[in-house]
Subunit: 237 residues, 2 copies
Amino acid sequence: MRRSDRLSEIIEIVQDGRLHLARDIAARLEVSVRTIYRDFDTLVASGIPIEGERGVGYLLREPVFLPPMNLSLAELEALHLGMAIVAEAADTELQAASISLTRKMNKVATANGTVPKNWGFGVYPFVQARIGFEHMPKIRSAIRAKEKLKIDYLSLDDISSTRIVRPLQSAYWGKIWTVTCWCEARDDFRSFRIDRISRCRPSGIFFKDEPGRRLEDYLEKVNSQMTGRPDASTQVK
Amino acid sequence: MRRSDRLSEIIEIVQDGRLHLARDIAARLEVSVRTIYRDFDTLVASGIPIEGERGVGYLLREPVFLPPMNLSLAELEALHLGMAIVAEAADTELQAASISLTRKMNKVATANGTVPKNWGFGVYPFVQARIGFEHMPKIRSAIRAKEKLKIDYLSLDDISSTRIVRPLQSAYWGKIWTVTCWCEARDDFRSFRIDRISRCRPSGIFFKDEPGRRLEDYLEKVNSQMTGRPDASTQVK
DNA sequence: CCGCAACTGACAAATGCTGTCAGTTGATGT
DNA sequence: ACATCAACTGACAGCATTTGTCAGTTGCGG
């Protein structure tokens, strides 16, 4: 096995986010432990955020490592346009992420002449209100963690309520953001407009996927109704 | 200089899209020509689309090569959301690009458990009409190439006209796409709604950036007017 | 058919990588 | 305070890879 191959193997191994011991990796790759230590040196030297702790093991800090990749011009354009839109249409967390990603890409791509400095894309503010945007990072991480949320919601007819929901998906409709949930009180799917959520906090209670209450079930249900706007039937006014 | 560093140097050198001779690269990196040939072998073997032609030189086929990179979870989310929106809001060329880019990312990112298979993003059609979308690839490549376009335009009061324009920027307003141009006939900036362009063809005539007629000049002019919608004053109804 | 520059093969020399060994360091638990 | 664990470090001999030199071949364009 070539050294360079071994280095990328190590990245793949460490990428699962769990702790790894140098000796295990050494056994798996059939080299000595010393070599693994040296390999980690090399990887860290080339900027890969691996952290080793004495007595504990190794861990990859950032969750994803992108291997070398070739992009076509169209793909690069799509990427830049997408990041420009996200920077306009999403919350500050994603906004910051899209800007830093664009910067990373530019760093490698615009140094030379083939790639235009100016992409010829303009994106102008088209999210009408940014009310409720501060909830979005919380909502996204709750979706990922499958954690129930406690939300205070003001319906479109100005009736407020507090609910415990299982967040499943946050959706973008061009002007507004919604979050689709399984609502524990109503025992059904409900979609909430994020700009009508006045308060939103993690409950500390985690849920498991249950048939009939999953995102897949919601999407299937909606699909079978063949309405133009998928969540019209469950929309919380 | 380490071998691996030299390999990425070579990529950077070749990335400019111009022809390079092995002997020049060898001189620049202070190694022998033979070593450079071997390095190209290595690069090609790891899937980098470099082409060498006898008697000519070396060339990178795809315009952009993305070196290894670390993305945070937020950046990955922004990327997926952006690609989902582009797939909904742009023409088929960009749509295809966004899909293939998403696939490339998924291939490396969802293999292990850290990254969710389902991102919890839904994006629903929010471009009202896809009329005129077929012109967009042409428009984008004309912007890049600085090639004048001949367009047939139907104004909002149903007056049609044919114009020669210098395309500068295509902009997205959440519902509609526009292209901002320097209009040769009017001798001023004009923005056209893409869904009102009935015909659009490259003229074969290329233009150079001239002070007063560039995108920068347009943006500056618009900025100084402090209107909410930058191109209100030059909008072609 | 000549010049160019990409290519290829062979081999010795230089360089870098690896394993072994013998330690140190810092965190954690008893 | 002590032991344990596992990351880390330095040194050195032996081995593997990489490199340069040299002497060719191949394919393209003039």
